[in-house]
């Protein structure tokens, strides 16, 4: 068996940890920047309705967003408008939008794509029905009426 070294032998030099904070800070900044909500700039008000039976939408990458609501800018009136990405759109643009967004995705993922409809409470069903028809036309059949969880 090997003998233990006697005390007073060469001591291990302390590991220099003075760079550790820098590394951690670097990570910190990375996360601060990278996880910044790259949310779309909202042009319409979406005060969501409440529901008790909501389910979590699992993957954010598998979502299309459609916003419907009265414009935030008062000068544009109060008639509910549709917003796709960062711009106002009409019902007729939805098919093209979904097709375009789907083309960016992996083909295997397309059947799992869910459309998250964020509509304001005051929106009338007419416009929602039109959107649903458009979605059916492009075979985007998974829809989620985005609602906040109510305390039952």
């Amino acid at each position: 068996m090997a003998k233990f070294k006697k005390d007073g032998g060469r001591s291990l030099p302390a590991i220099n940890t003075s760079a550790l904070p820098d590394i951690v800070f670097m990570l910190l900044f990375f996360f601060m920047v990278a996880t910044k909500m790259r949310d779309k700039e909202m042009k319409v008000r979406t005060q969501l309705p409440q529901a008790s039976e909501v389910e979590k939408l699992e993957k954010k990458s598998r979502l299309h967003y459609i916003f419907v609501g009265p414009p935030l800018d008062d000068r544009l009136g109060s008639t509910p408008r549709i917003q796709l990405d960062d711009a106002f759109a009409t019902v007729d643009d939805i098919q093209q939008y979904i097709t375009l967004k789907n083309s960016e995705k992996d083909e295997k993922e397309i059947p799992y794509m869910t459309t998250s409809l964020k509509a304001d409470k005051v929106v009338k069903m007419g416009i929602v029905t039109d959107i649903k028809q458009e979605l059916r036309q492009v075979n985007a059949l998974k829809l989620s009426y985005t609602a906040s969880k109510s305390i039952d």
């Binding site: 309705p49 909501v54 409809l117 009338k124 069903m125 609602a147």
Partner: protein, 186 residues
């Protein structure tokens, strides 16, 4: 005056890493908070011919109508929204007792119709109540049969898969929405 240069004591930066870690964890946790939630709907695929609803026996269909004034009409009579859930549960679990409600749960259909002028808020509430009714009956059935509510069954867990299938077969979610018809006016 002291002429001798004094050494500046070194600042202990050992805890800096801890502080930075704390911040890091904070950001990691907070940035995942915004999980979108919503009522999941499966839209019916578009077909050339709309299904003929008149073929369905009247007793199997629970007709729910919401008009432009956000009034709720269930089977032809006005109803407050807080009673809709119980009514739907009664319909689904009737099993032929009441001649006006469904004969068996597997045939029971809930038909939802709305006007173009119905508010989205009201529609979501009605849809929520109907979903809640389905969830309630499924939970109760699963609880009685397997001792575990349906919502707690895990679709990834092998022994639960058959249970889920059975509950779904017993209470299929036949929530039909009428093809939109333009009735004129707003």
């Amino acid at each position: 005056m002291a002429t001798r240069k004094r050494d500046i004591p070194e600042i202990n930066a050992g805890s800096m890493a801890d502080i930075a870690f704390l911040l890091l964890v904070f950001f990691l946790v907070t940035t995942t908070m915004d999980i979108p939630t919503g009522l999941q709907v499966a839209l019916p695929p578009i077909t050339e011919e709309p299904p003929d609803e008149s073929k369905q026996k009247k007793r199997e269909v629970l007709e729910v109508l919401v008009n432009a004034n956000d009034q709720l009409l269930v089977e032809g009579s006005l109803m407050q929204i807080d009673r809709l859930r119980q009514k739907t549960v009664d319909h689904l679990t009737n099993e032929g007792r009441d001649p006006n409600l469904a004969s068996t749960s597997t045939k029971a259909i809930v038909s939802l119709k709305n006007d173009r002028g119905t508010s989205y808020d009201m529609y979501v509430q009605v849809y929520n109540e109907l979903t809640a009714a389905y969830n309630t009956v499924r939970d109760d059935y699963s609880m009685a049969k397997f001792g575990k509510p349906y919502s707690k069954l895990d679709p990834q867990f092998e022994p639960d898969k058959d249970k889920i299938k059975e509950v779904k077969a017993k209470y299929p979610k036949k929530l039909s929405e009428a093809e939109p018809v333009s009735l004129g006016g707003k």
